[in-house]
């Protein structure tokens, strides 16, 4: 719920049009159309198994769309492998198993620099200032981090390539209340600097509160899309998806 600086007339930064996707023979997404404008923060909500994570995985190239098109900055990216997608300027923070346990925190961050032309050391230094926890533990193996700390590391790593669009899968899951607030503040800050965000979040009320727009996904299809405050105020949506 905020005043958005989004230019509604400009072509979207990311556009999914009629996308079908799934795993093996199991179809999860049915003709999904979602767009994210430059600098926009879009929150994707819906029941467990609705296909929210599948949307992100399909955009990032972990899954190839079965049908439909995915356009990023005017160019088709549907079916491109993640290594190519990340170079177009899209970052991805997965929900689970999101760090390299046998590597140190520093090495994990350096992995994020693979898509950069330089070694990313200046950006990483800046991230250490933003996330003092990571600076304190930079030489420790990521496997020694708690679940919540891993989440923060994965988030920071996705920022290393300085993406134009960040795909974030449940940033607050498993985080202590104060840490979750910090992560939401970081998402807002990253967005305020111009990075568009497509975020999946089960803590829907909290997620929508920092978003421009909400998209409700149910059984693999877009059920509802509206400005975030309208989604928050819709009684039917509240009852069905926000826990009343």
């Amino acid at each position: 719920m905020r005043t958005s600086g989004v230019d509604e007339m400009a072509p979207p930064l990311l556009e999914l049009a009629g996308v079908d996707s799934g795993y093996g023979e199991a179809q999860i997404l049915y003709a999904v159309s979602i767009s994210v404008a430059e600098g926009e923060l879009v929150c994707l909500i819906g029941p467990n198994g609705a296909g929210k994570s599948t949307v992100l995985k399909t955009v990032f190239g972990l899954l190839a769309p079965w049908a439909g098109t995915i356009t990023y900055a005017g160019a088709p990216i549907g079916g491109e492998p993640p290594a190519d997608v990340v170079r177009t300027g899209i970052g991805y923070v997965p929900q689970r198993r999101n760090v390299f346990g046998s590597l140190t925190i520093e090495e994990n961050l350096q992995m994020g620099a693979v898509a950069r032309d330089d070694d990313g050391s200046a950006v990483i230094a800046g991230l250490y200032e933003q996330f003092p926890l990571l600076a304190d533990k930079r030489a420790a193996r990521a496997s020694t981090l708690s679940g919540g700390q891993r989440q923060i590391l994965a988030f920071a790593r996705a920022l290393v390539p300085e993406p134009q669009l960040l795909l974030i899968d449940e940033p607050s899951a498993g985080l202590a209340p104060n840490t979750a607030e910090e992560v939401f503040a970081h998402v807002e800050a990253v967005n305020a600097r111009g990075t568009a965000v497509l975020m999946v979040e089960q803590n829907a009320k909290r997620g929508l509160a920092i978003s421009d727009r909400g998209v409700v996904l149910d059984q693999g299809a877009v059920e509802f899309t509206a400005p975030a405050d309208a989604v928050l105020e819709d009684e039917r949506i509240a009852e069905l998806y926000l826990g009343g």
Partner: protein
């Protein structure tokens, strides 16, 4: 005073130079829903791993129902009546959701080969009632439509629900739940809370790690706060929520 169901005494665990559990001592009294909260990295999941036999402690002791289980295997801990769930469960490959859930119920008569011959009716009866219990809980947790799907087809949140359902079907003496509602849709959160309360009313003692304050503060009493591997404080929810140390280390906002 009777012996607590779970007694953790001076428990220690370090990973390399990193101390995860720093002389932690606490008890979980039988018949309670005990909450375990604390900052990320406070050592909450490590404690569960030490109690449930997934990690050996460096020092200290674990007693469940008076029996010493320090360093016991996960199977021994489960046999002693303590079942735990994981923060990020993994699917049971090669099984359908129904099959994965049927692992839950304990002491299934058909597991004893002799009973298959000597008491076939009893085997059939328990199997039928287990199947019914699986269908019931699957309906409550909104996963009934997935019963015949391969367990590997589930989303992160659905896997969580399957794991919770399986642990609950086990009806253990002591149920350790590691962040049961993280990644679960808010509309299902209340269903889970009701289910935990029902198990509790039936005599299952629960110890729950959870960051969702609304959920844990309504459900649990007492609440134990862990910070840097040790117990920071313990008390009823209202006391814990208003404690400046807890606000500072964990809740934030002030």
């Amino acid at each position: 005073m009777s012996e607590p169901l779970l007694r953790v005494t001076d428990l220690q665990k370090a990973f390399g130079g990193l101390t995860a559990t720093d002389h932690a001592s606490f008890t979980v009294e039988a018949g309670t829903i005990t909450g375990l909260i604390g900052p990320n990295g406070a050592g909450k999941s490590t404690l569960f791993n030490l109690i449930s036999g997934f990690l050996p402690p460096d020092g200290g002791r674990v007693h469940i129902a008076g029996e010493e289980l320090t360093g016991a295997t996960p199977a021994e801990v489960a046999a002693a009546g303590c079942i735990r769930t994981f923060q990020t469960p993994r699917p049971l490959a090669g099984m359908t959701v129904r099959e994965a859930l049927l692992i839950g119920p304990q002491q299934q008569v058909g597991e004893a080969p002799l009973a298959l011959f000597s008491r076939p009716a009893a085997v059939t009866t328990t199997e039928r009632s287990n199947l019914e219990a699986v269908e019931t809980i699957a309906a409550e947790f909104a996963i009934a439509h997935l019963l015949d799907a391969p367990a590997t087809d589930l989303s992160g949140g659905q896997l969580k629900l399957v794991e919770l359902a399986r642990a609950m079907l086990a009806r253990p003496q002591l149920l350790l739940l590691d962040e049961p509602v993280a990644g679960v849709n808010p509309t299902l959160r209340n269903t889970l809370a009701e289910h935990i309360e029902r198990l509790h009313a039936e005599g299952v003692t629960c110890c729950i790690i959870e960051h969702d304050m609304e959920f844990i503060m309504q459900l649990a009493d007492p609440i134990i706060v862990l910070d840097r591997g040790r117990v920071l404080m313990e008390g009823p929810p209202a006391t814990v929520q208003s404690d400046p140390r807890v606000i500072d280390a964990y809740l934030g906002g002030g």
